[in-house]
Symmetry: C2
Subunit: 523 residues, 2 copies
């Protein structure tokens, strides 16, 4: 009997028909049972007469399965397998915790330290290897990445293979936004025929990320397209959702991002705003493992002079967290309160120097954004957009992966390490009423640790009236840019006034005296 | 016959009763006429049996007056005076121009370069002299200042005199916000009896500002009070408005600011939100010269998670411009459009290092705010809050005036000079749709000059599709922090891509080729 760890992908392979169009003609499901647990998972056609279903069991013990199909060969197949407890670095999928935070399914701490390399899996092999090496060498534990290839400025090379049967002539002109306006007679793919090799490759990359402890925040649709994948029509969209969820829901490190900049897709007449409810519900319904699920906007609230009613409604029950493009960092706490869900600023501009306003941010400003959000128990996502000149061939991390050339990632490593070592993976904001200018404060949910970030503010002295009453705290002064941590006198409490050294990008890290059960900096 | 320049204060003095309470008992008005012009101005009692009316004529020619009073001695007094054209630096009052900008009444350019020294006129004499010297040495042309003395942290000394008859025991304890909660039996002033000497002194300071070409943005009420001036009651408030407008409306450099942080006054049960309409209408009605008039908030939209319906309604017809406390600089354009009035961020945090979040901003950030707002045709106001230690006795510019110790004012001088020399005193925002991230662009209303500010953004190359079609521009690169201006190649136009040097706080200043009628940097 097949034995597998809890939360690992278990795969069952069957042979079936190769005639007709198996992607459309064959229905194939498995019913999985363990005591009172019962799950239905969709199988998929993997080419060459091979049919597969995959399952990630969340409960230890003996499971059995029975298949159902409209093809006799695939129907009423039975089997059993044994699920054993997770070991080593297998902590299971990431789940929402304490309403606005995350952790692993086994209870281990997890806070997203995201980066962005949208189309890294479709670059030349050596660039993909660089990407994996870069990720391994740094603290990022979530990557935003697309399922489909990407066509955009700096992204006009054709991928090595395509998700559907068909082919595309490379573009013969510099990118313009008109390239996204693909007319029906310019589409050369058969949206009823997936290309299994494309998805097998993607899966290999997702598995490698999982081995590195990195979540794959998978973007199912996006507007950066000249193939037609962004405008396949409703039936093909639904077929695609069923197929991708069947293939990938068993990877424990997968998050579903319904789209990047979904509101741009409506502008380009690709997917209309009204279709996202159905797409989101379909992903949720097809996924037996309830992976994290969100959708990412283009228009910025309130900067684009919009309010949140212009957003996709993040209060929908299938949405697990907010995955925002937003630059108003102080709004994080309001949105935590409004939606009672985790808030990730999945794009708060990228460090770099391209010509687009979202990609010419200084390293200092991006690190500053990370600290402001994380001190409030929200999260930021990194991206890097350095280039040497227009239309450079050099990989740009934001889209291609490869190597990092900036300065922010080093400080983000430092921050991630500091928060992890100080029980700050589950932070709740504090002091919102009293500290409503440029001071960002939060505490670990058990109140053992407090972080206060000052940004570019330079108070000569300070007090922290929002600290818990009756508690005393030892303190460390953090220079978030220089990456130094020094002991800070005096012991602090709710009423103490204390002097602050001059300087920018400073933070205080407090540990409650007598209350530190985890052996970091307390007494 | 008395001869006076247009827009200068003309003062007429009469002797009247000293018995009873002249401030309450005596009604005294003057009707002024010139051809079809007819104005009514209120006179006021200046002590020692002296009654005064003042008038600032805006039309050249022979004017006549007749007084009206319920006291025979002051009734039916007649006279004439001759108003001649303004000379020298007399440009008249500042008025709204092109909906969202300002200029002088004679058509000369004026853009507010404000600073804040709330209670400077009530400090020791030497500090007041320092303040005037500092203002003379710099480019500030508007000062926010209070009519009443100020009681707050760092502001607990008693003033040298009081606006009303009475006296106050100095505070014997460090400031707390409870000090603003003045019970009726703690008020030791007679709100029916003004102290003319207090106002004579204030007028002297306003006149000195006028000589320096500086607007006095006079704050009529504020919450920072332990005397009771913030809670005199409705009748006394109205009497005060009539008195202060009678005294000061003839100073051409006066702007009325109904209150500082009027919404805090409601929180402290001083003046309720519902009373401001009547106060504003009363100022407007009493003022024969229609000085600029606004009101200044405390709560920040949207940072305090409020929308503009929580503001005083700046669309009211007696409000001439928005005088905001706000940190969301990108909202300036929306509010210009919403209200069709000039937008001044009269508090966007102060450079300094006090313990309050509004007063611990870096110099870089304040200069950055000035550039962002002014590139969009809005305005910022400076303030400085440096101190050495808690409860220092050293004057802090923000409240006391004195001397400047910071770094932002030098860059604001540079900016003011640069804008003035490049016909940028009346800027309209451009490129809002295409440049919606961190690029702030505006042009002179005649389209001869364009300013583009990049803040901390660092694009390696750039284009400016929002430039006027068919025009070519010579360019200069401005380092707004280092205060350097260097010629920039190439000639720019709507379609040109060009390289930008690395660096922060850069701006481009463009002059249309063949279109520069004013002889600055164009051909």
């Amino acid at each position: 009997m097949n034995t597998i760890e809890q939360w690992q992908k278990n795969e069952f392979t069957f042979q079936g028909p190769t005639t007709g169009n198996p992607f459309v003609d064959v229905d194939f499901f498995a019913i999985l049972q363990h005591e009172n647990e019962r799950r239905t998972v969709r199988g998929f056609y993997d080419g060459d007469g091979t049919y597969v279903f995959r399952f990630m069991a969340d409960v230890v013990g003996t499971w059995s399965y029975t298949t159902q199909s409209n093809v006799a060969q695939l129907d009423h197949q039975h089997g059993q397998f044994e699920v054993v407890a997770a070991t080593g670095n297998n902590h299971g999928p990431v789940v929402v915790y304490n309403r606005t935070s995350f952790r692993y399914a086994d209870g281990s701490p997890y806070m997203p330290i995201g980066t962005t390399a949208y189309a890294w899996a479709f670059q030349p092999e050596s660039v993909q290897e660089d990407t994996l090496n870069t990720l391994e060498a740094n603290e990022f534990n979530k990557v935003r990445m697309t399922v489909f290839p990407k066509f955009y400025n700096y992204n006009t090379a054709e991928p090595q293979s395509y998700p559907y049967v068909g082919t595309q002539t490379p573009s013969d002109h510099p990118f313009t936004f008109d390239d996204w306006e693909v007319a029906p007679d310019q589409i050369h793919f058969d949206f009823e025929k997936f290309n299994p090799k494309y998805f097998q490759h993607l899966e290999q990359r997702i598995a490698q990320l999982d081995q590195l402890g990195i979540q794959a925040d998978l973007i199912l649709f996006h507007p950066y397209d000249h193939w037609g994948f962004a405008r396949m029509g409703h039936d093909a969209n639904m077929r695609y959702i069923k197929y991708i969820v069947a293939r990938l829901a068993s990877y424990k490190n997968v998050w579903w991002s319904l789209a990047n900049e979904y509101d741009l897709m409506a502008m380009y007449d690709q997917i209309q705003l009204g279709e996202w409810d159905e797409i989101g519900q379909m992903v949720h319904q097809e996924d037996p493992s309830n992976h994290l699920l969100s959708i990412h906007n283009f228009y910025d609230v309130p900067r684009h002079q919009l309010n949140t009613s212009n957003w996709y409604d993040y209060s929908k029950p299938w949405i697990t967290h907010l995955s925002l493009q937003n630059y108003s960092l102080y709004m994080a706490v309001q949105w935590q309160n409004d939606y009672q869900k985790p808030v990730i600023f999945d794009e708060c501009r990228y460090e770099g120097n391209i010509e687009m306003g979202w990609g010419d941010m200084s390293a200092e400003d991006l690190v500053d954004s990370f600290w402001k959000l994380m001190a409030h128990g929200a999260y930021a996502t990194h991206g890097e957009t350095y280039l040497d000149r227009p239309n450079t061939d050099r990989p740009i991390w934001w889209a291609h992966g490869g190597q990092l050339h900036g300065e922010s990632y080093k400080r983000i490593n430092f921050l991630a390490d500091l928060f992890a070592k100080n029980q700050l993976s589950d932070v709740e904001p504090i002091g919102i009423q009293t500290a409503d200018w440029e001071l960002y404060a939060g505490q670990s949910r058990d109140q053992s640790h407090v972080v206060i970030y000052f940004g570019t503010s330079q108070p000569r002295f300070e007090n922290l009236p929002f600290l818990a009453s009756g508690k005393q705290y030892t303190a460390q002064l953090v220079n978030t840019w220089n990456m130094t941590i020094t002991d800070f006198e005096p012991v602090l409490d709710q009423s103490k006034w204390f002097e602050m050294p001059a300087g920018k990008y400073q933070a205080l890290l407090l540990t409650v005296k007598g209350g530190d059960r985890h052996g970091s900096e307390g007494e």
